[in-house]
Symmetry: C2
Subunit: 182 residues, 2 copies
């Protein structure tokens, strides 16, 4: 074996070895590229999930804020509605004529209670629906009787209120029962 041959063989071996290394590096690179792509895909998917979760948080927050406001705004709807017959009764009692001190004293007490209950309801947003002399509105008034219209009371005008109606802010708790000119 000449020195040159040996040298050549060595060189060839080195080259081969390097070639193998290159092949191996290329395969690893492909594997890593695919891992990288997978990681990038997963990242993009996770980013999407995160953004959707953040949007859901904002939605929930808005939804709760609105719901909370409604719950507070209309919190007295049930109790207020249940108190309406008592107000009717107090007003009916106020209409009774009295001619002695006991009766006057009782009526004074009733007047105080009526005023106090109405004030409490008003603070919660519950008020009488305007009806007498108003144009009839089927959303607020219930016509239980009609009378012929005149010059003073044109058609669709409320001429008598048989039972007061009440609303809580924009919600009707009880429509006014009315007589309407027609």
């Amino acid at each position: 074996m000449s020195k040159e041959e040996t040298n050549e063989e060595l060189q060839e071996e080195q080259t081969n070895s390097v070639d193998e290394s290159v092949v191996s590096e290329t395969t690893e690179t492909e594997v890593e590229k695919s891992e990288l792509e997978t990681a990038q895909d997963e990242l993009s998917e996770m980013e999407d999930k995160f953004l959707r979760a953040r949007a859901e948080i904002a939605n929930m927050s808005n939804r709760f804020k609105n719901e909370r406001e409604l719950l507070v705004r209309y919190r007295s709807q049930d109790l207020g509605k249940k108190l309406l017959p008592s107000i009717d009764n107090l007003e009916r009692a106020m209409a009774i004529e009295v001619d002695d001190e006991q009766g006057a004293s009782l009526k004074k007490g009733i007047a105080m209670v009526l005023e106090s209950v109405q004030a409490a309801l008003k603070e919660e947003g519950i008020e009488e629906i305007p009806a007498m002399g108003e144009p009839f509105d089927p959303n607020l008034h219930q016509a239980v009787q009609t009378i012929p219209a005149t010059d003073d009371t044109p058609a669709d005008t409320i001429v008598e209120v048989l039972q007061k109606g009440y609303k809580l802010h924009d919600r009707v708790l009880r429509a006014s029962m009315v007589v309407v000119a027609q």
Copy 2:
């Protein structure tokens, strides 16, 4: 230049070229590894953010569920509290003695109103605090007067209720004003 020398030089060039290629591959691999690591780090970070967002959604949902329950449970607290003086007045009116038909008719109306208001409050969870004959409880009762304890009325027993107290579920709307044996 001998043939061998040329050959050697060629081999050396090849080897050099291959070596450069190896170096270049290694650098690319390092860049890709670092990109992969970056992507994996970002994925891990994003995953963490997503999990925290999901936990926040669960928290918000629970928090609002509790808040909603409280808002509904205690919704009549304000209106109920404002109605207590009216109940006092109605009860005071019921205590007035009457001896004619008008008075009797008024008291009948007042009794109806009182019953109806109490029923409405009860439906909302508002009830009188038991006091008469009960052991004094500073959380529920306010002692405005004391009398000496006897065998029938041992110390710390409530012997008289000067003003009724009311609670809404577990919350005291107004403590009972009482006289306590001591």
